[in-house]
């Protein structure tokens, strides 16, 4: 079969198409976005009529995928790590229902927080839900693991969690394809007790899920994803997921004859782990993310032969690298060179001509007159409004929190309570908060900085494009307090006046600052000139 150079994310996408999915459901989020984009652009997927339009958020994506599985077809659902928090209710309960058509849940973690607000480790969710977790090490293994995960899902009637991290998702390598197979036929589940989680049914299902754990561990014992790389001596390494690459890099470069146990499938293969651990006196646990299994293997009383992130052998936080792993394996060489002190930081910034810039300029013009002012903001390009020259926002916590935090602060008596949220984030998780504010008649000014795209992740379709005013009206915002303006320099005075008026109003107002993302606009221009 054909070999191609693929990002880890693309390897997942291609493998899912080849494994016979009928749909992918996702909300964009770095580092998971490229999976769905690849499927959207794949001529093969189009020919096979694989569903691939973006969902409004991760929860709606997850539930739609579960519905497709109920109907008997295979599906992929993708999100970034914090997206699983949004989909967690559906995720945990889908472990209780189980699935019908194969369902693989891809969650991309972001250790070192390259583009995220935390570095939560999705393997914890896997344990929490009692679901099998697969954590491949490289791009080829990722491709192969996806097919394997679909088979495991259908064989065990459970969703299978595939956990990747930024480095694997955004790194390319040559991947060899397997022959593709057809999608499943429509075959809706007939098992009523399984899907209706009334307490009486759920108790039975939960018991079955717990009983399945021994089977899942036995499967992990035989998995191609878990294996030992022979070596000698009293020291050893257990390398999980992508950490395996760094361990093997050091082993190869330094000619170390150290034994390595590679783990990429959970629940842990108990016998393999026990047999390996008994043989050695000093075992480095290399995990990308939280010390989840280090803590587990060390135990409450702290078996000292297991070293890792908890005892400082490896850094407690952040992404691993060949260098920190080399140090933990006792073969570090000091880097000869340092970065010259003249090198200045170059943080990301809002694009020249970006509409968010004009929104922040208008806000800053108003707030020059308010010594005490706070702007609740959200997740998106406009979070960069936190940095100079704007320094215009006070908060950024989670998707949709700008609206609800502004409401809570208004309830506490803060005035003006201003929120700045993007259009895609608003439809993702802002609408319900707005309804709370309307029902409470909270004195909030919600600015939807509408660039009609999901810009930060590369310009994906935004669920509310062209519908925002109607949504706000439908939620119950008074029509006179739904204002729209075009954020451009020439409109600054007019826009400042509108904002001021609405800030003075002691109820809910929404201002839609509407102008197309400059990146989208220039992409459209390029595409048009091609035609």
């Amino acid at each position: 079969m054909e070999s191609q150079l693929l990002l880890g994310a693309e390897a997942i996408a291609l493998a899912a198409i080849d494994a016979g999915i009928s749909g992918v459901y996702a909300y964009p989020g770095t580092p998971s976005t490229e999976i769905t984009e690849y499927i959207q652009q794949s001529p093969v997927a189009r020919e096979k009529r694989v569903h691939s339009t973006w969902a409004t958020n991760e929860k709606t994506a997850y539930e739609a995928a579960l519905g497709m599985s109920y109907a008997g077809k295979r599906c992929l659902v993708c999100m970034k790590h914090v997206g699983l928090n949004v989909a967690a209710d559906a995720f945990l309960n889908s472990a209780i229902t189980g699935v019908n058509g194969g369902m693989v849940v891809v969650v991309a973690d972001d250790p070192s927080m390259h583009s995220s607000q935390n570095e939560q480790d999705t393997r914890m969710y896997g344990k929490f839900a009692f679901l099998p977790v697969i954590e491949p090490s490289n791009q080829q293994e990722t491709y192969d693991a996806v097919r394997y995960a679909f088979d495991l899902s259908e064989q065990q009637n459970l969703p299978v969690l595939l956990r990747i991290t930024t480095r694997l998702s955004h790194s390319r390598a040559v991947v060899k394809q397997q022959p593709s197979r057809d999608e499943n036929k429509l075959n809706p589940s007939q098992e009523k007790r399984k899907w209706i989680l009334l307490p009486a049914n759920a108790r039975v299902n939960y018991q079955q899920l717990l009983e399945k754990q021994a089977t899942l561990s036995a499967i992990a014992e035989q998995s191609f994803l878990n294996r030992t790389i022979a070596g000698s001596g009293s020291k050893a390494v257990i390398a999980f997921g992508i950490a395996y690459n760094y361990v093997m890099e050091v082993k190869q470069a330094e000619n170390l004859d150290i034994p390595v146990l590679k783990i990429s499938q959970y629940p842990l293969p108990d016998s393999q782990i026990k047999a390996f651990a008994e043989k050695y006196d000093d075992i480095l646990i290399a995990e990308e993310g939280y010390p989840v299994y280090e803590e587990y293997l060390k135990g409450y009383f702290g078996n000292k032969k297991f070293r890792g992130r908890l005892d400082g052998a490896l850094p407690r936080t952040g992404e691993l690298s060949p260098d920190v792993v080399a140090k933990a394996m006792g073969v570090a060489t000091d880097a000869a060179r340092t970065i010259p002190s003249i090198v200045a930081g170059r943080p990301p910034m809002l694009c020249q001509g970006c509409s968010h810039r004009d929104v922040f300029e208008a806000l800053n013009a108003i707030f020059a007159e308010y010594p005490e002012h706070h702007v609740f903001s959200d997740i998106g390009c406009y979070t960069l409004g936190a940095l100079p020259p704007f320094s215009a926002i006070s908060t950024c916590v989670d998707m949709g929190a700008s609206v609800t935090m502004a409401k809570g602060a208004a309830d506490a008596g803060l005035h003006p309570a201003v929120a700045v949220i993007g259009d895609s984030t608003f439809t993702h998780s802002g609408i319900t908060g707005l309804l709370d504010a309307v029902n409470d008649k909270s004195a909030v000014t919600i600015i939807i900085s509408d660039n009609s795209t999901t810009a930060m992740t590369g310009g994906q379709d935004s669920a509310g494009t062209g519908k925002l005013a109607d949504i706000c009206k439908g939620v119950g915002v008074e029509e006179v307090h739904i204002r729209t303006f075009v954020p451009l320099k020439k409109n600054l005075d007019e826009n400042v006046a509108i904002l001021k008026e609405e800030m003075e109003y002691k109820g809910v107002s929404v201002i839609i600052a509407q102008r197309e993302c400059v990146q989208t606009a220039s992409r459209k221009k390029r595409e048009q000139s091609k035609k």
Binding site: S3, L5, N245, I342, R346, M349, L350, M456
Partner: protein, 189 residues
């Protein structure tokens, strides 16, 4: 054989074009490739880099260990220095001379030049002038690829072939422009 390359620049400068061409050339030569890139927040005008590794045997780490890069290929001079800890003792910096100043505290150009010069083997390339000579400023990155070609570990002819396949969808004129740019870069060394 193994070559480790750090390609450095600023989000939006198109360092991934260079990486893609080298990837393609390596693949066409039947070599192993790993190429880690930066997506997401930093792409908005921040510092970006790509770790590119080519080898005739299995490559494990997607990231280059410190002190093991044979080449830092920088589209922007200050960015070449940001990755200095990765440069091997006998490694080389090939950098464009044109600074990209999108920050207020951009250092003195002379001090940047001096730091690069004192770092060991290095090569300054006036990529802007050469791209203009080739016929279009957009060929800036291919000029840089040409200038660094000698240190990539792949024959120039193979890189030219990869340029042809990479740009072929955009038509002959674009292919020719980039081949010219590549050759001008290579000749400037």
């Amino acid at each position: 054989m193994q070559t480790n390359i750090i390609i450095a620049g600023v989000g939006g400068q198109g360092i991934l074009t260079i990486a893609s061409i080298i990837d393609l050339a390596a693949m066409q030569q039947g070599l192993q490739v790993k190429q880690a890139e930066v997506h997401g927040m930093s792409q908005r005008g921040g510092a970006v880099e790509s770790h590119l590794r080519i080898s005739d045997s299995e490559i494990y780490s997607d990231l280059i260990p410190k002190g093991k890069a044979n080449l830092i290929l920088a589209i922007e001079p200050m960015e070449s220095l940001r990755y200095l800890p990765f440069l091997a003792p006998d490694g080389i910096i090939v950098t464009a001379t044109e600074p990209f100043k999108n920050i207020g505290n951009y250092p003195e150009e002379a001090s940047i030049k001096a730091a690069i010069a004192s770092s060991g083997k290095h090569l300054f390339v006036d990529a802007e002038a050469l791209a203009r000579e080739a016929g279009n400023l957009k060929a800036f990155n291919t000029v840089m690829l040409g200038a660094a070609a000698e240190y990539i570990g792949i024959e120039k002819a193979a890189l030219e072939k990869a340029i042809e396949s990479y740009f072929s969808a955009k038509g002959d004129a674009v292919v020719q422009l980039n081949l010219n740019a590549f050759r001008l870069g290579a000749a400037a060394v």
